[in-house]
């Protein structure tokens, strides 16, 4: 039985016995190649659910719109970490959720009108092939996980450059940002009703077109996800000007792992690094 069929069977059962009133999953996009999100409320809508290596979207974001409604959701391992993040931060309720987890073989670069067998960058270095939280699991995880050192090879290369080179690199990257905020809108961790970037008083990020204004946005966006980013890489995927946002996110991820021995979204209980402290800890870099 293929993954899509297992998901459809489960989803139909959940809708029919009214465990949930909506199943959030994927359906084939109108280009006939890619996938797009599907909100299935009726048994016949459930028939459109699919799952394959084109199902890239992190659907956990949509749970923020359905906080007190019984919902079933299809999640990949990275998306399942987003659910833990949102549970940990008291944004959603576990008893309203039915989680259909998919052991994930990795998602390809297939996008709008474009078929590709190649895995997305984040999937090539992914360490987590089984969802960390689920009620029902489909699929088989691949046999081996990539080496953790590989996951940060590009971060290490960046660290190896001089401050001047890094400065020039990031300025060039940030200068291309058109501040569409797609990276924020797609991120499951970005759910504030008011974002610092839209504050007018004080105006933290000036509206004029200037690389140094973008810099404030791009660096603080990443920092607000420090210890919270669950590495779905949706932000980088949706960026229309291809800014390597994961190169920022994974630097923070690596530091958080080293400084606080913490990885976001692995469970729903461990307090986030900035929500706690230890009196006896020492940080050689400061003080």
């Amino acid at each position: 039985m293929d993954l899509g069929e297992q998901i459809r069977n489960k989803a139909k059962e959940l809708i029919e016995i009214e465990t949930v009133d909506c199943v959030i999953g994927y359906e084939r996009a109108t280009d006939g190649v890619g996938a797009r999100p599907l909100f299935a409320y009726k048994p016949e809508e459930v028939d459109r659910l699919i799952f394959d290596q084109t199902c890239t979207h992190n659907l956990a974001k949509y749970l923020l719109n359905r906080k007190d409604k019984a919902t079933a959701i299809v999640v990949k391992p990275c998306d399942s970490r987003a659910i833990n993040l949102l549970l940990n931060e008291s944004q959603i309720q576990r008893d309203k959720l039915f989680i259909i987890g998919v052991a994930c073989p990795g998602i390809t670069k297939t996008g709008l009108n474009n078929t590709s067998e190649e895995l997305q960058a984040a999937c090539q270095i992914c360490q987590q092939h089984t969802p960390v939280i689920y009620d029902f699991l489909v699929g088989e995880p691949p046999a081996s996980e990539p080496d953790i050192a590989e996951a940060y090879a590009d971060v290490a290369a960046m660290e190896g450059q001089s401050a001047e080179e890094r400065r020039a690199f990031w300025e060039e990257q940030f200068s291309r940002c058109i501040r569409c905020y797609a990276c924020r809108q797609v991120c499951p961790g970005c759910y504030c009703t008011e974002c610092f970037v839209e504050r007018l008083d004080p105006l933290w990020v000036g509206i004029r077109i200037a690389p140094e204004e973008n810099e404030v946005w791009n660096t603080i966006r990443a920092f607000h996800l420090a210890g919270r980013c669950i590495a779905c890489n949706e932000c980088e995927r949706v960026c229309p000007v291809n800014i390597p946002l994961s190169l920022l996110n994974r630097k923070l991820e690596e530091e958080v792992r080293e400084l606080f021995n913490f990885q976001a979204g692995m469970d729903a209980e461990t307090p986030a690094p900035f929500a706690t402290y230890k009196k006896e800890e020492v940080f050689p870099e400061i003080g």
Binding site: M158, E159, A163, E164, E165, R166, R167, A168, F169, W170, E171, E172, S175, F196, W204, G206, R208, I209, A210, P211, E212, E213, E215, V216, T219, I220, A222, F223, A226, G227, L248, K251, L252, E255, V256, L259, F260, P273, F274, Y277, K278, K279, E281, F283, E285, I286, G287
Partner: protein, 142 residues
Amino acid sequence: MAIEYQPKIVGFLCNWCSYAGADVAGTSRICYPPNIRIIRVPCSGRIDPLLVVKSFQQGADGVLIAGCHPGDCHYTEGNYYARRRLALLRPFLEYIGIEKERFRVEWVSASEGKKWAQVVSSFTDELYKLGPREMTLAKGTG
């Protein structure tokens, strides 16, 4: 005519210890470089990394955060939280090309006027050595 480089430092000092410590330095007439602009905050726990990034964006050559020694925070735990955020911020700034020597976090008590003066002096010296912080791309206006 070239204007001689004078490092600009933005200092965020907690009201209860470090600001009082800087006051002691003043009333005891201890000399230290005038390169620092002091902003008084209620507690080092108030320091949002945004304030630091914004200071650099507005042209600071260095940013200094000073608060009560761990264990002495007026609000008991503000500096314990601050310390975690700032310990992560420093390597992150370094990563995006703001040398970590430009960002300092120091614990200065209300009686440590001398330490305060030393901190500002050594930070200013270091910033002289590093030179001005410049953007390589053309600046926007305004």
